[in-house]
């Protein structure tokens, strides 16, 4: 503000008055960050162990599987679609990679598993992208079908790796590099890659355009089907990566190990502020959303609450987070619907 402005009286009324629009905008855009910060401060005050390096790195390691899956699901959600099949796809991929490990060796097992998982991602992508079918129902059907495939493959038996100490496959789930857990590194490394992809490449721009307005995107020469297809392949890719971490960490797998993951992963993405309508969302915020889920679990356990208390808190946090987002856009806490 220059002196002249103050003298002319234009700036005077604004002095000292907080700009409510700007405040609202900040809350709207960074609400999730603020909530995250509050959480961390709260937990740190209530438990001295919470803020320790050991504890934080534990949380990162714990969320790495859900977090990795959430990266691909974020891309799908930004295109305006859902992927409910990632949970059973995780079961499928983990069973496959663990079972093949002892039969054909770790490297071929990983390769075959990636190929099979990506193939299933292609099916999702074909049906939703090129077939233009409702993504919720398609991936719901795929959830069931993949569950069946997993059981058929394993004959209903759980699988495990015989030589758990001697295989280099252990590095993905149990290894450390430069003091950081490998799962954490995979998660964060992929997060950076996905963030760059969404913000710096033409594909990323197309993802946002297709989610924001599929019709206008098509009218602008964007091949909608191809973009949606790729999003599902990416989602399958991150799930395959998560399966490597999970299989390596557990060195075995149950047939239903991923059951319910689809909705946990989606919770993380939604906490990160991605709209189910498509066109909005970001990788850093998804990472924060997933971390919030992880820190709730960790913080509550440290404070001595029962394990499942985290689910109750998650319930409240999901609704509050989305409510704040919706309310700030509406400019009122409650709807006027009668």
């Amino acid at each position: 503000m220059t002196k002249l402005d103050i003298q002319s009286g234009q700036a005077a009324p604004r002095l000292g008055v907080p700009d409510r629009d700007a405040l609202r905008e900040t809350l709207q855009k960074q609400g999730i960050l603020i909530a995250f910060a509050l959480f961390l401060v709260g937990f740190s005050l209530m438990s001295d162990r919470f803020a320790s390096w050991d504890n934080v790195s534990t949380v990162f390691r714990q969320v790495s599987i859900i977090g990795t899956m959430a990266l691909g699901v974020t891309v799908v959600v930004i295109t305006g679609n859902l992927d409910l099949s990632v949970g059973s796809l995780l079961s499928f991929a983990t069973v496959l990679v663990v079972d093949l490990h002892d039969q054909i060796g770790p490297a071929p097992a990983i390769l075959v598993m990636f190929a099979a998982t990506l193939l299933i991602g292609c099916v999702n992508g074909l049906l939703v992208g090129y077939g233009r079918l409702n993504s919720l129902i398609v991936t719901l059907g795929m959830l069931s079908a993949i569950q069946g495939l997993t059981l058929i493959y394993s004959g209903g038996q759980n699988v495990d790796i015989a030589d758990q100490e001697g295989t280099w496959f252990a590095v993905f789930g149990r290894g450390f590099l430069l003091g950081l857990a490998v799962p954490t590194l995979i998660f964060l490394g992929l997060a950076v890659a996905f963030h760059v992809m969404l913000t710096r490449t033409s594909f990323g721009r197309r993802v946002f355009a297709v989610g924001g307005n599929p019709t206008a995107s098509a009218f602008s020469g964007v091949r909608r089907a191809r973009v949606v297809f790729s999003a599902y392949v990416l989602s399958a890719f991150t799930t395959a990566c998560a399966a490597v971490i999970l299989g390596s960490r557990v060195m075995g797998s149950q047939n239903n190990v991923g059951q319910g993951y689809e909705l946990l992963v989606l919770s993380g993405v939604i906490l990160g502020g991605a709209s189910l309508l498509g066109g909005s969302g970001s990788i850093p915020k998804t990472v924060i959303g997933v971390l919030i889920l992880g820190f709730i679990q960790n913080g509550l356990l440290l404070m001595g609450y029962p394990y499942y208390a985290q689910w109750l808190v998650t319930w409240v946090v999901i609704i509050l987070a989305v409510w704040l987002d919706v309310a700030s856009k509406r400019g009122a806490f409650f709807t006027r619907t009668s």
């Binding site: 721009r205 946002f208 355009a209 995107s217 020469g221």
Partner: protein, 511 residues
């Protein structure tokens, strides 16, 4: 169209002395950051058709929603029959006798016509059961009055858009309303249906109902209304007696000056043929369409809604599969199976519906502009932000786009500026052929002439431009040649120099 007789002089005099049925005083409505209505005052008398005129964004729809109880005014009063009233919800408005005939259809497709007409007030028997007998009888009574060709128990989703519009109108007549607000009611009606609607309005007038009639169509307003109130920038710019004014007078109020009718300065030298269409056909949408576009010329395509104009454009742009005919670009036959092909061949389409087809509303101006040319602004898939910015800067400048910054989401721009973003998006691909479909729909009059001038300038730069429009003044203002469509066929072709309005009207009416 002239079934509604004008009032005689005595009647008009009488009208002046009648007490206002509905009066608004100093109504103000603000939304965060926008003053949508600023001290608006006007009144409607018994048996009067009061036309409300103003460009999009002038505040008409906000005013309407305040009247209908959708929005609450921040200040100001509403008087009904001299009594101050509060209208806090659509329900309350209805209870007080103020009903709104929506422009966007507000029907439930799975329900029957009767259920839709009596939505929110279904007649009941015991236990909350619907009384179908009373429902259908009451609905049939209203439908008879409208002379429609469907039954009260037909599923609304099975009706044509025009018939759905009639259901919408029927709904307004349920409670012998005191005031009916019509928002662009004729947008999807055929001429015959318009006549019926105007009869209904005449009937309402006779019963003493006050009518607020919102429309863009000057001819309708001058046929129907007793008085005209013009809104601009959320303010009332004046109320005129329809008998004492003409289109120019109204237009002056709307834009503050007369509209420059011709954007065309001089007949240009037509260049070589850029686009040639031969015998193009697509199902029963259009048949055997042949025409050519030369570089540097503007060709207008004129016809009624449903004559196949937009569909022809969409087919050329690859959005529809043709089932016959040929498209040539610069003399060579091309196979266009989608917008990417069209863009590669230098064809661009600025579509009819900006918000649904033209723009990603939540995206910023720059990103919207580069969306049509992502390959050109990226290297190996990596976006080159410098190149994007250069495109934005160039076309924002050339089109004199008024946006706070390139970061502004296009949602926050006015209609005229949104259209400039759409045009900028297509100019960036350096098209040989530019098709603009309804380039000024919903754009204020001032920006209209700016867009017209722009279209002429683009032609002068060597682009072949096809302008599709349902507004005759627009077609006449910008075109060198005019193609008249009737029922999916090319009825006639005119040179701009020797076209008359009558001939054009005849051509698009199949006469």
């Amino acid at each position: 169209m002239s079934r509604v007789a004008h009032h005689t002089a005595e009647e008009l005099a009488d009208l002046k002395h009648r007490a206002p049925l509905l009066r608004l005083d100093g109504v103000t409505k603000t939304f965060p950051g926008v003053k949508a209505l600023d001290d608006v005052s006007f009144d409607v008398r018994h048996g009067e058709v009061h036309a409300l005129l103003g460009e999009n964004g002038a505040g008409k729809s906000t005013l309407m929603k305040v009247l209908a109880g959708v929005h609450r005014a921040n200040s100001g009063t509403i008087h009904l029959n001299g009594e101050p009233v509060e209208v806090n919800s659509p329900l309350e408005a209805k209870a007080r006798g103020i009903v709104l005939v929506h422009q966007e259809l507000s029907l439930a497709p799975e329900l029957s016509v009767a259920e839709n007409i009596f939505l929110g007030s279904l007649p009941t028997k015991r236990f909350g059961l619907v009384s179908w007998k009373r429902l259908n009888a009451a609905a049939t009574h209203i439908l008879d009055r409208l002379g429609v060709k469907f039954e009260s128990y037909d599923r609304v989703g099975d009706l044509s858009i025009a018939n759905q519009q009639m259901v919408e109108i029927a709904r307004a007549l349920v409670f012998t309303p005191k005031v009916v607000v019509f928002d662009e009611p004729t947008a999807s009606l055929t001429d015959a249906e318009k006549v019926v609607l105007f009869d209904v309005i005449a009937g309402l007038k006779k019963e003493g109902t006050g009518i607020v009639y919102i429309s863009h169509r000057m001819d309708e307003i001058f046929t129907l209304s007793d008085r005209i109130t013009v809104l601009r920038d959320g303010q009332t710019r004046g109320t005129l007696n329809t008998r004492d004014t003409d289109e120019d007078g109204v237009t002056r109020l709307m834009i503050g000056r007369s509209l420059d009718k011709s954007a065309r300065k001089a007949a240009p030298e037509p260049g070589p043929v850029a686009l040639e269409v031969k015998g193009l056909s697509c199902g029963d949408l259009f048949r055997d369409i042949s025409f050519s576009l030369r570089r540097g010329e503007v060709v207008g395509m004129y016809g009624l809604v449903g004559a196949g104009r937009t569909e022809i454009a969409e087919t050329i742009f690859g959005l529809r599969a043709k089932d016959g005919g040929e498209i040539r670009i610069d003399g060579a036959p091309v196979d266009i199976s989608g917008p990417p092909d069209a863009i590669r061949h230098g064809v661009a389409l600025a579509p009819e519906s900006r918000k649904e087809q033209g723009l990603v509303l939540g995206m910023n101006c720059r990103d919207n502009m580069s969306l049509s040319q992502l390959d050109a602004v990226s290297r190996g898939g990596w976006l080159d932000r410098g190149a994007e910015q250069a495109i934005y800067d160039e076309y924002a400048g050339r089109l004199s786009l008024k946006a706070p910054s390139w970061r502004t989401p296009v949602r926050n721009l006015s209609g005229g500026n949104q259209q400039k973003v759409v045009l900028g998006k297509w100019l960036g691909v350096k098209p040989r052929v530019l098709i603009v479909d309804e380039p000024t729909r919903g754009i204020d009059v001032g920006s209209k002439s700016e867009i017209h001038a722009l279209i002429r300038r683009l032609a002068a730069e060597g682009i072949a431009v096809l302008v599709i429009s349902s507004e005759m003044p627009e077609v006449l203002a910008v075109s060198d040649r005019i193609l008249a469509l009737y029922h999916g066929r090319l009825a006639r072709e005119f040179a701009a120099a020797d076209v008359t309005e009558d001939a054009l009207v005849q051509a698009i009416s199949g006469l």
